[in-house]
């Protein structure tokens, strides 16, 4: 599997390009896309300006391979793509992109939710929340 990790933010044009690539697949009737966008959360009066993502990439790739395999077995999907940013992603930028396609709409929703949740839970990604004053704290998924 090609790497799902992208250096820097995921650009809207990259998402558009992914969509366009699926327009030659005429058995697809429904796409569902999840995008994670960095929030400017205010924590103890300090505002998050960016998140710096790092990753244990060899382990992440092997876990993502398992996730993909299991998702294709569980859901009736035509295509599935997962991308995550590495490096410093500013508030408002997209850092996570899950893209699922199927023949019918009913197949896609649960698959998307499943993939988003399992990536958050199982993939060794780490996020340093950098505040506007350059101090930081480490992000923890709830």
């Amino acid at each position: 599997m090609k790497s799902i990790f992208i250096k820097g933010a995921i650009q809207p044009a990259f998402i558009a390009d992914s969509i366009a690539k699926h327009q030659t697949k005429h058995s697809i009737g429904a796409h569902n896309i999840f995008l994670g966008q960095v929030r400017a959360d205010v924590i103890n009066d300090k505002t998050v300006a960016a998140i710096d993502f790092t990753c244990y990439e060899e382990m992440a790739n092997s876990i993502l391979e398992d996730i993909r395999e299991k998702a294709f077995k569980t859901f009736n999907l035509t295509c599935m793509h997962i991308y995550h940013s590495l490096g410093e992603i500013k508030a408002g930028e997209v850092c996570f992109f899950v893209f699922v396609s199927a023949k019918h709409s009913k197949e896609v929703y649960a698959a998307t939710e499943y993939l988003v949740n399992i990536v958050k839970k199982k993939v060794p990604l780490f996020g340093k929340e950098i505040f506007e004053d350059d101090s930081h704290q480490w992000k923890v998924n709830k």
Binding site: F53, Y56, F96, V119, P124, L125, V140, N141
Partner: protein, 78 residues
């Protein structure tokens, strides 16, 4: 020698991303005790991966040369 890898908040604490460690006859649990003593990692919620697979922190598996042991803080993707 095995390689010990550190990520995220833990790498910040250890001030390095990886180091070599002599492991002849060393259990994972003992290795973790050594690292805890060296870096004081008690404040961290750590999970560990042996050659990219999660294992228990008190595992009695013995480390071999060329093993890769990774110390991972809570995952935060998405």
């Amino acid at each position: 020698m095995a390689v010990i890898k550190y990520y995220g908040a833990i790498a910040e604490e250890t001030k390095c991303s990886e180091e070599q460690m002599a492991v002849s006859d060393l259990k994972i649990s003992d290795c973790m005790a050594l690292l805890n003593k060296k870096y004081n990692l008690n404040a961290f919620e750590v999970s560990i991966a042996l050659n990219q697979n999660l294992v228990e922190i008190d595992s009695t598996i013995k480390l071999n040369d060329s093993d890769e042991l990774a110390l991972l803080p809570p995952f935060a993707g998405g």
